[in-house]
Amino acid sequence: MNPSCPIWVIIPAFNEEKTIAGVLSEFSSLPYHVVVVDDGSTDRTAELALQFPITLLKHIINQGQGAALQTGICYSLSFLEAAYLVTFDADGQHCTADIARLVEICQSGSYDVVLGSRFLKGSRCVGIRSGWRILLKLAVQFTRLITGLKLTDTHNGLRVFTRPAATKLNLMQNGMAHASEILSQIAVHHLRYCEAPVTIIYTDYSRSKGQSIFTSINIIWDILEARLR
């Protein structure tokens, strides 16, 4: 890790003792600041994470991935050197090699947000089930309807924000609906965005921790319920 590196990677983690060491070891040879937000894990996630040169923030009670991301964002923004904030999953689905490419697109100055997509030309999506692919395609249409954003992948956890863009984020959705909320806030704040192809690797483990049709129903419910005053 390079103390003056402007790239900060935020990894929310909840009970990821099986994958966290593998994920963090990939960052060992990279210069990025890594901030792991342990979201009330009851396993050895925090203990294993602290074996690596990272910063660990601990939620004493599980709040949800959205809340963990926002905590990581708040922490990173408190450091002036954090110029690019990267969100990255702890379940081993993402590849660290994609970070540099996404950051480079941000550094061009043309975009405030770069969103990873597993459905663009040049991306790789290993081990995805056809049912899940259909669900993600439906999510794309739903997002287009709600936010107007034209995307190919609306639930990809690998994203890069410039610092000014990250300061505009204020995630109120603690659960999985945060992914949709991020897109809504991109639209509301008129942030310049683009997608870039990334690699997503599904394993039996990540599939077991991932979302199902029922989570999708919960996400839609959360989005609608957010309108309650």
Binding site: H59, C74, M172, L228, R229
Partner: protein, 117 residues
Amino acid sequence: MSFQIDQILIIGALVFFVFYVSVLRTNLTDRLLYFISALLGVILVINPELANRIAQAVGIGRGADLLLYLFILVSLFYFAGLRADIKRLNRQLTAIVREIALQNPQNGQIDENNEKS
């Protein structure tokens, strides 16, 4: 396509419900709503003939049915209000949990062999 009065009332109640829980609702409006509903309920129970007349006028049928539907409607408003209050409390809880996390960052082990300059 023609609508009957009861259908219009149902659609109107649903539209008002959505508008109320997303825009209008405050502590004061909640209390007014519950007070007026309770008062209306008491009046209709004391005067069942009035309930019957209103029910027949809107095409519902019996006064008892009218009271039941009003009870369901008021309950929906109440539960929506409860959900909103719970969500507000959860946001406050998240703020507290976040503040504790931000005030207590921990640094992991630094492997000097892997440090990059």
